[in-house]
Symmetry: C2
Subunit: 404 residues, 2 copies
């Protein structure tokens, strides 16, 4: 077998890798466990490592470490890439192919699977889901989302207190190209009525600058402050990303995605608009950036466990005789949170992405609903407790006292 | 007594508050424990709360919560402010004043102390140190620095792996106006020779764009990637902050500081320069922003303990009969890490800030020395372990095999 990682790393993508490797060791049909470095690029370059030679303790340490241990890539294979890939896979007698990634990586797996059939190269092709964006079709949620959501929620918990201490308007830009799930997890930071985020803007609803300013003014008038979560992918009514208005680069990847992360431009545009259109003196913007997917020491236990589970399930399904598929996380019905891992078709996960359903977004299009909180809370798991003073006000003394 | 918090919040500033309150409860001379909301502004507005009415469990929960529980302010008192302050303090018979903050807050405490003497208002004035910038004179280090440094180090640990997985140049902008201590903590993320940050730029050395591009090119040529830590406060040879070149606002606070945080401008300027002057295709910049001082769930235990200690010490010193001072952290000589809290004069801490000593910065002015690592490691405490694959390379197969 050969396994590789692709797309944006997550805090638990190595759990899936290690889950697959540990499961593979149990199956006699799998004689060698190759890892390709940097996704399909590693196959094309024959940059392979022998994962069978990694010790159990190394694998366990890698599992709990963020980012893609095999390296990653954003590359969509052409037909000639596939021909080259099969020539190399055949040299090493690779008959099981596992690709860990998001919807673009599912597309890559789908292409390789279809081309393998066409080329008559016998290969079992499996996609193992991951993405902090939580935008894979067929999945209740995806590995990586829970830990990134935990980071976002913990960041907002602290930043809410910071904003409370100093006042003014604070805008935080959260990752999420087309889907607002990760931005929405900011809402889990709220413990009390007046806690932020007070406003949440998602790519699922058109963003109007005038409405934004109006919303911020209203919250600031009421509370003397305003904490805002904004998805990096917010678009105007015409579907143009707001960040494109002043982005320093128009870089796109092989799958045609415009670069949204790794720049503070969107936060700065929004902060400047508030400065220009209101009299609020303190306006700040932060962009959480890559910390959301790679920060060490902030991992959701549920997320880690499930990421491991999709990895083992992929190998089980492949060795059980299935030819191809993607391993999806399905939530079991019932009040208690439980999931199962199911094989679904590659095509049903590839390329197209999933969005926040309407029932997760409030009517004013500037926050989430309780239904979203209920959905996300078990995936993100425990959050630190925030302590607040009771703050018993001292009755104002009417007149001067003298020392007793 | 009256206590208040001022300046930028930290992850442990509430430890100092709670330390002082818990200590005050032990002293009969202190009849009431008032907290002023939002620093001296809270005194002027008579926005006081009764901290004596907070339960032990609330105080303990608050102690381990980031950000200033009493609210904060950036305000330098005028002479007429002081007159108003004393009138109000006298109404409540306040004779002990504790102000938790950085060098600007020490200046405020110094001004109030001097004015109290002039006005013949009997008041014991104490400054309790805090600042993530670690730039207070008289201190080996300051409360807040350890936890912020832990955040920065953990962020760089993960981001180093992210950069390793996808390649290219990654620039991370870290807080630090005039002192590079916090930016320097990024170096603690390194475990192996090739780990980032590969370059570290501090405000203590003039920043030249041409030199920066040259440094980045050299690292990228060698490793195929480059991870960089940059202080928000870096300045050119003339002393002008690099961020001012394209800052969206020229906001300054009451102490005359230009706003550097809460914008992604500096990271974007540096990333654009690398894009313009090199052929490196993937260039990203993140600005850590306010997360560094407020993130929940990332606190250095040593830092928390010391922050509590300076709070209790201030009250002990004041009730012991001392009139004024600032509580400084001194490191005891010897190989084992240990500190003591000493009363120093307000003037010796106020206003002026401290910088990274030469022995902490490398000769090329683009990284730190082992001396800095040795200095900072015990303050920041334990960091998560990073697991890496051994990565035994597979020997390239010479020719096609056929299935056995």
């Amino acid at each position: 077998m050969l396994i590789a990682q692709s797309g944006g790393p997550t805090a638990v993508i190595n759990q899936s890798l290690v889950g697959a490797v540990m499961e593979a060791k149990k199956h006699a049909a799998i004689e060698k466990i190759y890892g390709a470095l940097h996704g399909i690029q590693g196959i094309l370059n024959e940059d392979l490592i022998d994962l069978g030679k990694e010790s159990k303790s190394t694998l366990e340490a890698v599992a709990s470490t963020p980012s893609a241990a095999l390296g990653s890539i954003r590359r969509k294979p052409s037909r000639s890439d596939c021909t080259a890939i099969f020539r190399i896979l055949e040299k090493y007698n690779v008959r099981y192919f596992f690709y860990i990634g998001g919807n673009d990586s599912a597309e890559t797996t789908y292409i390789i699977n279809e081309e393998a059939k066409r080329a008559n190269y016998q290969l079992r092709c499996f996609h193992i889901c991951k993405t902090i964006d939580n935008d894979l079709r067929q999945n209740d949620h995806t590995p990586g989302f829970g830990s990134a959501g935990k980071f976002v929620a913990q960041a907002f918990m602290g930043d809410n207190l910071d904003n409370l201490a100093l006042g003014g308007v604070k805008i935080n830009v959260v990752m999420g190209r087309h889907a607002g799930f990760l931005t929405a997890t900011a809402a889990l930071a709220r413990q009390d009525e007046d806690d932020g985020p007070h406003l949440i803007y998602l790519p699922e609803r058109p963003f109007a600058m005038s409405r934004f300013v109006k919303d911020v003014k209203a919250v600031h008038k009421k509370l003397g402050r305003c904490l805002i979560a904004v998805s990096e992918g917010i678009v105007d009514a015409q579907g143009t990303p707001i960040v494109v208005q002043a982005a320093p680069s128009n870089e796109t990847d092989a799958h045609g995605n415009i670069q949204l992360s790794g720049t503070g431009a969107l936060g700065d545009i929004l902060a400047q608009e508030i400065r220009n259109k209101t009299k609020i003196s303190r306006v700040r913007a932060d962009t959480f950036g890559y910390l959301q997917r790679s920060f060490t020491g902030c991992i959701s236990e549920v997320d880690a466990k499930e990421a491991f589970g999709v990895g083992t399930t992929a190998v089980k399904e492949a060795t059980r005789g299935n030819i191809d598929g993607s391993i999806a996380i399905k939530r079991k019905p019932g009040r208690k949170y439980a999931v199962e891992f199911k094989r679904v078709s590659l095509k049903s996960v590839a390329k197209e992405s999933r969005h926040m359903p309407d029932r997760f977004i409030n009517k004013a299009s500037n926050h989430v609903t309780q239904a979203f909180i209920d959905y996300a809370a078990p995936i993100i798991g425990n959050l630190p407790k925030v302590g607040k003073l009771k703050g018993v006000a001292v009755k104002k003394e009417e007149k001067q006292r003298t020392r007793p």
